[in-house]
Assembly symmetry: C2
Homo-oligomer: 92 residues x 2
């Protein structure tokens, strides 16, 4: 089974648009590698958490800021496709 | 557990954008009712299938055209929130 990403976002904070944009970024970059990206409204205010197969990959509250898409892609790549180049989103 | 929608789309056909738009429509209308909407690239070319808790709700190949968002909302409402009004998306 290919890995599954879940983006848990706070709907009352208006973060659906950001979550949906990130989902599209990840599904474009990792179209071969991912099973799916799930958008999940959180029951907890202020949540913005990216899960990989049920484990927390990045959490806005721990980071102190929103996860940046470049960092999300790098971290996800390291976990699911370590050989993959991310082009200009890659670290030097 | 709240119901879960999956939109299975053909990535090679370029249908991610449509699927992501529909996910946002459903998550906006059914924010209280749905657990999540999952975007899943299909392994089968030409697929555009909306699943509700693993069952097929609408399938482009059976319909002969893309599911329309108004019909998707009506059908989903009938299944998960029969008392809910959809405002101008409702049938007369």
């Amino acid at each position: 089974m290919k890995p599954r990403v879940t983006i848990e976002y706070c709907p009352k904070c208006g973060w659906l648009l950001r979550a949906a944009w990130m989902a599209q970024e990840l599904l474009t970059t990792f179209v071969e590698e991912l099973h799916s990206v799930e958008l999940q409204p959180s029951e907890v205010g202020g949540s913005y958490i990216i899960h990989l197969d049920g484990e927390i990959l990045m959490n806005r509250k721990d980071l102190g800021h929103f996860p940046e898409i470049k960092e999300v892609k790098q971290l996800l790549r390291d976990r699911i496709a370590p050989e993959k180049s991310l082009g200009h989103s890659d670290r030097k």
